[in-house]
């Protein structure tokens, strides 16, 4: 189907009547996904957002429940967000990240009602990448600038119009009442050319990486790889697949809330035990955890790599510690046996 760019605002305004709409908006020098209250706030002319739209489904801080102690007990109020949402204009890599997060929050043992309720109520309208950034490497991870996995609709920018690819029934519903024309031959041809032109400049070699990581836990390579890392969370907090969290109670007097916050393996507090012992005492163990979690443990648990190649960690690292180089270094390293 075809959507004129001029129709976009009206469409978003229409969607807003039934949904909370999240879209990329310009904030300072960057783009972020925010809830919009008028269609013209959205800017679909961006390369990638600073912080991934992950925070729409898995907020940086979210109240799980609130409580009040009363004479005869405790009053609990659960805080499950049941609103219907749409994320418009997210990149294919970010859509894929939700499929990875699903594995974490929905397992045989546990279903996370907070994430899953939002997830089930959220429709995803993707935007293909006509001009991938030089830091993008989604194709190395099975994605691509026009990949449709996880999306309900995909918009392909062909100049003054979008070719809208309908991928699910939920996606189709969003277009109800719009009476969009079907894409004509010329539009289809332009879309094909746009897709072909969106070449990625970076490839990462992942062949055999997992079997290497399986045996290099004690390899001296970790002593060197992490050295310049500052141990901040600029990489993890801007990663669409990182999902570690910490739960704290924030209370005043006899009432408060239990809050779930993003956490990061790069912080010293992350695995600090109540006894004072920390199994990851230095930056070396923490950095190893970040690489291992994404490229080994996640594969062991969910049969998928927990990286979608969005390149945000590369752009945001204050010391230019580039995950592509880290992986290359590991790939080039001799494999030693996993003994201390």
């Amino acid at each position: 189907m075809l959507l004129n760019k001029g129709q976009l605002t009206d469409w978003l305004n229409q969607l807003m009547q039934a949904y909370q709409v999240f879209a990329p908006i310009k904030e300072g020098d960057y783009f972020c996904f925010k809830q919009i209250n008028s269609g013209d706030q959205a800017t679909l002319n961006y390369t990638n957002s600073k912080v991934p739209p992950k925070e729409v489904l898995f907020p940086r801080s979210e109240k799980l429940f609130c409580y009040r102690c009363e004479n005869d007990g405790v009053q609990l109020t659960e805080q499950i967000d049941e609103s219907k949402k749409i994320i418009v204009g997210l990149r294919p890599c970010d859509a894929k990240s939700f499929l990875l997060l699903d594995g974490v929050f929905k397992s045989d043992k546990y279903h996370d009602p907070y994430y899953l309720t939002r997830r089930n109520n959220t429709v995803l309208v993707g935007l293909g990448c006509n001009q991938p950034a030089s830091t993008c490497f989604c194709t190395s991870l099975g994605g691509g600038p026009f990949a449709t996995e996880g999306l309900d609709l995909l918009l392909v920018d062909i100049g003054d119009r979008y070719v809208v690819e309908v991928l699910t029934d939920r996606g189709r519903e969003l277009l109800a009442g719009m009476e969009l024309p079907a894409a004509d031959q010329e539009a289809k041809e332009t879309a094909r050319r746009v897709k072909e032109g969106a070449a990625l400049s970076t490839q990462v070699n992942l062949e055999g990486l997992k079997s290497k990581l399986d045996v290099i836990f004690y390899d001296p390579i970790w002593d060197l790889i992490h050295e310049k890392c500052l141990g901040c969370a600029a990489c993890t907090y801007t990663c669409p697949t990182c999902h570690c969290f910490d739960i704290v109670d924030e209370a005043e007097g006899n009432e408060g809330c239990r809050i779930r916050n993003w956490d990061a393996c790069m912080f010293p507090l992350f695995t600090l035990h109540g006894s004072g012992h920390n199994p990851r005492p230095t930056g070396k163990e923490r950095f190893r955890q970040r690489v291992m979690h994404k490229f080994k443990y996640f594969v062991d648990n969910f049969n998928a790599i927990a990286c979608v190649g969005c390149g945000r960690c590369i752009i945001n690292c204050p010391v230019n510690l580039d995950i592509r180089e880290v992986l290359a270094e590991i790939q080039g390293s001799e494999v030693r046996s996993d003994k201390q």
């Binding site: 801080s61 030089s134 050295e227 310049k228 600029a234 907090y237 809050i259 507090l269 204050p318």
Partner: protein
Amino acid sequence: MSELTRAIQETAQKLLQNKEVELVVGFAEGSLPLRNTPCFVRQPEEAQRLVWGYGCENNLANYLRQRPEKVAVVAKGCDSRSIVELIKENQIDRNKLVVIGVPCRGMIDRKKVTRLLAGKELLEAEIRDGQVVLKGKEFSESVPLEQLLHDTCLTCQHPNPVLFDIMMGEPVPVKEADSFVDVANFEVKAPAEKRAYLIQELSRCIRCYACRQACPMCFCEECFVDCSMPQWLSKSSLNVQDNVFFQAVRALHLAGRCVDCGACDRACPMGIDLRTLTRKMVKDVQELFGYTAGVSLDQKPPLAAPINTTSPATFNQDGR
């Protein structure tokens, strides 16, 4: 710049060969245009990885605290000033450190480049004759270098290392005295306006603590924000006030210790203006105590010296 690169490589190689140090901390070529990256060299033959350029923006003093081995560090002006403060705070053993001083012409602010290119991606850059040629897909733009330097570098008073064992190249000219106009503009704002500004900036904070981690002077074993018993401020980001509180305490904690290197500001992925707060402290400490952090090893830090609260004007350069 290539001359400096060569000089740094040769010096590092010699120091390692002669076993004067076990490690050289410097910069290598980065993976992104206009970017250099911290680099740790232990073998003489690896010294050729070291480079000097306009992307050497990180403060390498950050890597020197409590090192067991003997280390050499490539230090520009601000790095050297941090080293001075860290020596005074017993975080660096002067006898185990060799400072390879490099006169600095300023570092390029990639945020300014991003702003200038307004959405176009930088793929390549070339610097010659005071001009930066920015290249990308189907564009090439030439911009005066001066326009792209970090604000910190534009006001920097100590581009030449204040402490060094070996100096690379000729000293660079020092700019006119820092007028602190940026801070003055902030100071004249009404309290409500100041507050609104800080809230607006820090509403973008994601509490990644890159600012804290990038600062060579932030080295408490346990930071007050991480402390959970008692919990000084909420761990959640639901309340912007707490982000402001975090930065306020950080800035105050660095008063008289901050060398205005800008590393915190540069590290912030959200582009938050942290500089106004840190510079306000720098200015206050200069005015109240006559103290500029990191310029001399002998000068006592203001809070370590007896304070005369009645007439700040009587403070002399020794902080007495």
